[in-house]
């Protein structure tokens, strides 16, 4: 029976090899962007599937997150006579943090799993080998369009989430907390500075890259038949979700340092 330290050693090696493999995968994906042939048609198809397809869940999540933020904050702020700051609280929270992260998590749950299962099924049914045998690079044909479209569409979906989140907050502030709508929007608008927008819109670019590369990576590395496809799908969602939250912390720290010198 191997000693626990030997198992640890094997696990560490496996982890490092996976990290190396994933890094090479990402590098290949990025370097393929500028190389012919380009599959713009596939980029558009994926943008439709990933972006337009995720719109309903992003709108619902954004709206109710904004609404619940307004509900909770209005009650707390009222204790200090600062209910008028509800708009500022909701817009800053949504734009800086919640919209990018929640949109990323929603898109990850929907699309990282979809990419892993679709590509995984293609691997186990030899469709990827068939594509290679026909002279097509699966990285260019399947991975690069998914990565490009996820990065672009997550950026746009985050803007949608920012908007509906603020609107959700406004709905609660006006209809439930009986605040003045103009006051809410003025407070929400005036609180925002360039650094907040930059922070909120930089994050989805990284999150989109993480979601798509992790989803495609686990899909392309699928082994073990249909059971392997299920495993790859679960791993893709778990790893991309954890990486989104982890990278959010790193990015927030970097942005604060960059824009505020904190």
């Amino acid at each position: 029976m191997p000693l626990p330290i030997e198992n640890l050693d094997k696990l560490a090696k496996k982890l490092m090899l996976s990290l190396q493999d994933y890094s090479l995968f990402c590098w290949q994906t990025i370097s393929n962007v500028g190389r012919a042939p380009h599959y713009w048609g596939d980029v558009m198809t994926q943008a439709d599937l990933i972006g337009v397809g995720s719109l309903p869940i992003v709108v619902l999540t954004g709206f109710f997150t904004g609404a619940v933020l307004a509900l909770q904050s209005a009650a707390s702020l009222a204790q200090f006579g600062a209910q008028a700051y509800t708009g500022q609280f909701v817009s800053l929270s949504m734009i800086r943090e919640l919209a990018p992260v929640l949109t990323g998590l929603m898109v990850s749950g929907r699309n990282a799993s979809g990419m892993a299962s679709e590509l995984g099924s293609m691997v186990v049914t030899e469709q990827i080998d068939a594509m290679r045998a026909l002279g097509t690079d699966p990285m260019k044909k399947l991975v690069t369009p998914r990565v490009l479209s996820t990065v672009i569409m997550l950026f746009l979906l985050t803007i949608v989430s920012d908007t509906v989140g603020t609107a959700g907050g406004a709905a609660v502030a006006v209809l439930i907390s009986k605040q003045n709508g103009t006051q809410y929007f003025t407070s929400a608008y005036h609180a925002l500075v360039y650094a907040d927008i930059a922070q909120g819109l930089t994050k989805p670019l990284f999150f989109g890259f993480i979601i798509s590369t992790v989803g495609c990576y686990f899909g392309m590395k699928t082994t073990g038949g249909t059971q392997g496809v299920g495993r790859a799908t679960t791993q893709a969602v778990v790893v991309s979700s954890v990486l989104i939250i982890f990278s959010d912390f790193i990015l927030s720290r970097a942005m604060l340092w960059l824009y505020s010198g904190i």
């Binding site: 012919a36 042939p37 030899e126 080998d129 594509m131 290679r132 045998a133 026909l134 002279g135 690079d137």
Partner: protein
């Protein structure tokens, strides 16, 4: 001109010269292993122009691995593999993509793209080369007529039977008139009638277009059918060769426990004294 087109042009120019000079495929002491004992060990053989080589062996002996090594889908651990005279063992994937367009491969289960129609599956290579849609349609119809499945043009693979999928896979492999055909158990899991249809298509491709081929099967009956039959264009069907005659361009390879234990003609195979071959043929 982009890298991809440039690679195509370069290969086209050298295509004929290479074919005349070298064997279409040559394995030299090829070995490969996957986390365990070697799957293939010191395998050496050749496929000459116009030749059909049938690779026999029990299930799990490494036949499909050998086929994937042939067009660079896998890299050997040791030895050299030459495809159209070019050493491919350590060739970058980018150059392999261009080289693979000169081969046609039929996978074990067909490996059709399930989200594409039969038209898009068969015409895939032509679509990748951005040929006009009319030309693609015309050539897809021709290839589908060859496998007698012209009526499936607009269908999806999910609505085809197992045998029809294999035939579509053959159409996809032959549409661009490849210089080498690779068949991975094309009749595996099919009923005898459908298997005969597939065998007839392979014999037709061999006798009409004289395309060299490397074919894997564990069904002896199919292998001997190919060696003892010819395609009669006048009757448009496969017919047996006269008594005592065999197709001299169809020869055999036998794999056993990762080693190539036989490389020769049908007659040599039948009279072989190797205990495994005797048992395998019995």
């Amino acid at each position: 001109m982009d890298d991809y087109t440039e690679e195509y042009t370069k290969l086209d120019l050298t295509k004929t010269a290479n074919l005349a000079k070298d064997a279409v495929v040559r394995f030299e002491n090829v070995s490969i292993a996957f986390d365990g004992p070697p799957v293939l060990e010191n395998v050496s053989f050749e496929v000459a122009a116009g030749e059909t080589r049938i690779l026999l062996g029990p299930a799990g002996v490494g036949k499909s691995v050998l086929l994937k090594l042939t067009n660079g889908l896998l890299c050997p651990d040791a030895g050299s593999i030459y495809l159209f005279g070019q050493e491919i063992s350590h060739l970058p994937e980018k150059q392999l993509f261009a080289l693979r367009t000169r081969t046609g491969m039929v996978f074990q289960e067909g490996a059709l793209f399930d989200s594409l129609t039969v038209r898009d599956n068969v015409g895939y290579q032509l679509m990748e080369r951005l040929l006009p849609a009319e030309e693609i349609d015309q050539r897809v119809h021709e290839a589908l007529r060859f496998v007698e499945l012209d009526h499936t043009f607009s269908m999806l693979p999910s609505s085809l039977s197992g045998g029809m999928r294999r035939r579509v896979a053959i159409a996809r492999a032959i549409i661009d008139q490849p210089d080498l055909l690779i068949y991975d158990s094309p009749t595996g899991g099919l009923d005898p009638v459908t298997s005969t249809t597939i065998n007839e298509l392979i014999v037709k491709e061999r006798d009409v277009y004289k395309t060299p081929a490397l074919l894997v099967t564990h069904r002896l009956q199919d292998a001997f059918t190919m060696a003892t039959h010819t395609y009669d264009s006048a009757q448009s069907k496969m017919v047996p060769l006269p008594e005592g005659q065999i197709n001299t361009n169809t020869t055999f390879l036998v794999l056993h426990e990762g080693k190539l234990i036989f490389d020769g003609t049908t007659q040599d195979l039948v009279v072989s004294n190797d205990p495994f071959i005797k048992e395998f043929l019995a």
